[in-house]
């Protein structure tokens, strides 16, 4: 049952710069969680380090503000230990696509049911405005001494190449749309990623809210746009189409769902196949002791480790 978004307001003062695009993300996230009918204790927001990294503190839900670049593997452990939790990763573009790129790729490969929100502001906000991995070559944002030397990585392309089964883009200033995308991502069973275009009012004077407003268009309003893979043999075609959309950047910038693969099993399902008790009794919920003693007694021990036992002949 949907609750009010305020339920997800932690009450902590938000110390982002006035006007920062992150405000839209927090608002959309609170709304999405409320509309999904979740309760605060069922949700874990996992973040990295950066302005974006502070997000969990502003959400009334379990919050894990981890290390720079490591939100994804932290989230992986949380989700695998207790798959009943709704686990959402909130990270910066530097965090997820620079220092954390290896984990970003690995999550795609795993298709674990986690939704990843990239706060894509093209800069390292909290360290004062250096180029992030999404800033294009030759662009000079405010705090850079010289124009950027490196080419950007395209978060959507990287996500598609890595195997994410849900890939979308949204704009942090369109809270309603972003909310919907977040809800879709959370509902999607498997690894989902949302590239959120998030203006940094303090350091990014190139990709401003205005810049985006002039270019954004909505895929769901495009006639015939259907990003969903419903059968395995549609995969290559849908993936190719998604990639072509992902490369569109300049005059027009698409937002919305680029790709959604409903055919791949999640890691949880795969584990369950191997460990039948997994869903019923995941690691975090198993009884491991009886009155302060190991549940594995001598008899069980000998059964479990049978192959290490040698019966001594008389």
């Amino acid at each position: 049952m949907a609750s009010r978004p305020e339920v997800f307001d932690s009450g902590e003062w938000i110390d982002w710069c006035p006007g920062c695009g992150n405000f839209g993300i927090v608002t959309a996230l609170r709304k999405a969680l409320a509309e999904l009918g979740l309760e605060p204790h069922q949700v874990v927001i996992v973040s990295g380090i950066g302005c974006s990294g502070k997000t969990p503190h502003f959400i009334n839900a379990y919050g894990v503000h981890t290390l720079h670049g490591r939100a994804i593997p932290f989230a992986t452990g949380i989700k695998l230990a207790n798959p009943d939790l709704t686990v959402i990763v909130s990270g910066g573009d530097g965090d997820l696509l620079g220092i954390g790129a290896g984990h970003f790729v690995a999550l795609g490969r795993r298709n674990l049911d986690i939704a990843v929100m990239i706060h894509d502001n093209q800069v390292y906000g909290l360290t004062k405005g250096q180029a992030s991995p999404t800033l294009p070559y030759g662009v000079k944002t405010k705090a850079l001494p010289k124009p950027n030397l490196q080419d950007p990585v395209n978060p959507l392309m990287l996500a598609l190449a890595s195997g994410y089964t849900f890939v979308a883009r949204a704009f942090s200033m369109d809270v309603e749309h972003l909310k919907k995308i977040i809800m879709e991502a959370v509902k999607h069973p498997g690894a989902a990623v949302i590239d959120i275009l998030q203006p940094c009012v303090t350091y990014n004077d190139v990709y401003t809210a205005q810049w985006y407003r002039e270019r954004i268009y909505y895929l769901d309003r495009e006639p015939g746009w259907d990003p969903v893979v419903r059968k395995e043999d549609e995969r290559v075609e849908k993936l190719s189409k998604a990639m072509i959309k992902a490369m569109e950047w300049g005059e027009r910038v698409p937002v919305g769902i680029l790709y959604k693969d409903e055919t791949r099993t999640t890691l949880e399902e795969r584990i369950e196949k191997r460990v039948p008790s997994y869903r019923k009794a995941p690691p975090a919920k198993q009884r491991i002791e009886v009155q302060g003693r190991p549940i594995i007694n001598r008899r069980y021990f000998e059964e479990l480790f049978k192959r290490y036992l040698v019966e001594v002949e008389d």
Partner: protein, 639 residues
């Protein structure tokens, strides 16, 4: 022949030629007779082709726990194994080799490294021998007093091929069985008993068992004259069952018993076998059904391994990761996060030869100071170092109890010498062990604060617990977990964390953190980890052979360090009669002792060749160091 309390043999051959199988077959066969077995393995960082060997001790009384430098039998599967073990051949050692290879030259063996060839060549030339295998055998016989046992492998294998109707080519794969058979024969392990070893190794493959037994028969016939040459006495005591396990297995078993249900890892020698073993029994299948399951996750790197384990621990699972030095290096940042967030996560650290990639398949004890201070800033951690398989098992359980009780990361330190050596152990009685999950809250009230300053250890909730929410952050935080840079909060929150170490120090008796073995007053050895086995046995040998009566202080916990106890013992002996024994260069334990109690133990016996400390070389070194001939004695036995 006079029966021996213990027999020792070495089998050598190229990697990928079945040495491990040979050792397993023999070990199980002896264990099934009630013998206590210890076997260690040396191998290159290579998949196929380089020389490898396994040293085995079979004892009729006590459990051996370190290598000895003298062997009753050495069995060489190839030419390399003859050249590599010239030093190991001793008086009367039966030295089995392939007589077909007598003309082989050292220079024609590319698998032996140039430096080693030089060493071998000098050894032979030093006594006037050339560098062919025949010369090496003469050297072994004439200089070392060993008894060469030539055997034409071709002949034996041809006969075998013919008798079993297989191709000679296929028969070659059974070369390792020749070693098994020869050793069984020489040590008096009869065919029935040997068969048990094969049966176990090749369960459900009776054909292979028969093949092996047939070949063993042929070998026995050929080597008839060596039968029972080094017979081992019947075991003094026969337990009903024995476990045959490696150090990796011991830790894995401890973890399962402790209730660890999540392990994330990235493969690395010599840690990985622990995770494989866990993966294999992930279902916890028993006669009463599935007792639960262990999720074992192979991650993309060690950073992911530890952070995933921390995540799982936050969610409420007993969680761990296992690695060795290079992987540990990558975990350092997350270790600090676990520290500031008071997360009970266990890191099993298997030391190997460093620095850097170092000697990845060899052993060392050189990560102690690193592990003790790894990660910037200050936070409490607990560090346990196990000295043998029994300790490894129990400490694996203890690690989780301490981690949850004190809400700190726990580093459980082992080394390759323990990880990769295989011993016999009586099955443990897990019921006698405790599971202490520390302070937990299942139904938090409105005022619940995860990091309450009321007590240093604040009760935990797991992620997902209804009734509250909690924030974790690597930043300094306030009682609910929100970032706080306030100076007063900072001081108190920092103190809260650090005080937990004082509590742990108060709660864990110092005598459990360090143990004194022996009570001789002549000298005191001090050491840790795998030194234990060699040190305790050396005490006995020194007493028996030289009338020197010493003791060994085994330090098992480096943090909280048992300062008073260690201080007391060292002062009883006087620091001049204390000898630090470590498998490293800088005497890391001695440095920790100095740091904690101000005594600088300057007498040291050290080794850094990547090989284990042999009882014999320690026995040799102790009187020299004690007598003041040298302050530091450097060991280097073992190729």
């Amino acid at each position: 022949m006079q029966e021996l309390d213990e027999i020792r043999f070495l089998i050598g051959g190229a990697q990928g030629t079945g040495l491990e199988t040979a050792a397993q077959v023999l070990t199980t066969a002896y264990a099934a007779q009630g013998y206590r077995v210890y076997s260690f393995r040396e191998y290159y960082s290579n998949i196929k082709g380089r020389h490898s060997y396994i040293g085995v001790r079979v004892n009729s009384g006590t459990q051996p726990a370190a290598p000895r430098a003298s062997y009753h039998v050495i069995a060489a599967i190839d030419a390399e194994s003859v050249f590599m073990h010239l030093d190991d051949a001793g008086k009367d050692t039966l030295f089995l080799y392939n007589a077909d290879l007598e003309s082989r030259k050292l220079s024609g063996l590319p698998a032996i490294e140039e430096e080693t060839k030089k060493y071998i060549r000098e050894t032979l030339a030093g006594s006037g021998y050339g560098d062919s295998l025949g010369e090496a055998i003469r050297y072994i016989k004439e200089v070392k007093g060993a008894r060469p046992v030539p055997l034409s492998f071709n002949k034996v294998l041809s006969e075998f091929a013919e008798s079993r109707g297989i191709k000679v080519f296929a028969a070659r794969r059974y070369a390792n069985t020749i070693l098994i058979a020869a050793i069984a024969l020489m040590t008096g392990l009869g065919p029935d008993k040997l068969r048990r070893g094969f049966e176990r190794r090749f369960a459900n493959r009776p054909r292979i068992v028969e093949d092996n037994m047939a070949l063993a028969g042929i070998v026995a016939k050929e080597l008839e004259q060596y039968k029972n040459m080094v017979p081992v006495r019947r075991p003094k005591r026969k337990p009903r069952r024995l476990i045959v396990l490696s150090g990796n297995d011991a830790v894995a078993m401890g973890k399962v018993v402790a209730g660890m249900r999540f392990q994330s890892y990235y493969p690395i020698t010599p840690a990985q076998d622990e995770s494989f073993m866990l993966e294999n029994i992930e279902n916890l299948e028993t006669s009463q059904g599935q007792l639960g399951g262990v999720v074992v996750l192979q991650t993309e790197d060690e950073i992911a391994a530890i952070t995933a384990a921390i995540g799982a621990a936050l969610a409420g699972a007993r969680a761990a990761t296992a690695t060795s030095g290079p992987g540990f290096d990558l975990m350092v940042e997350a270790l600090g996060w676990a520290g500031i967030n008071e997360v009970p996560v266990v890191i099993t650290l298997y030391q190997r030869g460093g620095p850097s990639t170092g000697l990845p398949t060899r052993g060392q004890q050189a990560d102690l100071l690193d592990a003790l201070f790894a990660s910037h800033g200050e936070f409490p951690r607990i560090m346990i170092a196990s000295g043998d398989h029994e300790e490894a098992f129990r400490d694996a359980v203890l690690a989780f109890n301490l981690a949850e009780r004190h809400q700190t990361p726990v580093i459980h330190v082992l080394d390759k010498f323990i990880a990769n050596s295989i011993v016999t152990m009586e099955p443990p009685t897990p019921e006698s062990l405790e599971i202490d999950r520390g302070a937990l809250v299942e139904n938090p009230d409105k005022d619940y604060k995860r990091f309450s300053l009321e007590h240093p250890v604040s009760p935990r909730v797991f992620l997902g617990t209804p009734g509250t929410v909690v924030w974790y952050t690597g930043d300094e935080h306030n009682e609910v977990g929100y970032i706080s840079e306030d100076k007063v909060n900072r001081r108190l929150m920092y103190e809260k964390r650090m005080k937990k170490l004082e509590i742990a120090a108060r709660e864990i008796p110092e005598e459990e953190r360090a143990t004194l073995y022996g009570d001789g007053g002549d000298f005191l050895l001090i050491g840790w980890g795998s030194v234990k086995g060699a040190a305790i046995e050396a005490l006995k040998v020194l007493q028996d052979e030289q009338g020197l009566d010493g003791a060994y202080l085994h330090v098992r916990m480096m943090e909280p360090f048992p300062a008073r106890y260690v201080s007391k013992i060292i002062e009883e002996y006087g620091v001049g009669r204390v000898i630090d024994v470590e498998n490293n260069y800088t005497g890391q334990l001695a440095r920790i002792v100095a740091m904690n109690i101000g005594h600088i133990v300057r007498k040291r016996v050290l080794k850094w060749t990547g090989r284990p400390i042999y009882v014999d070389e320690l026995v040799h070194a102790v009187p020299r160091v004690l007598g003041g001939e040298k302050e530091v004695e450097v060991l280097e036995y073992g190729i």
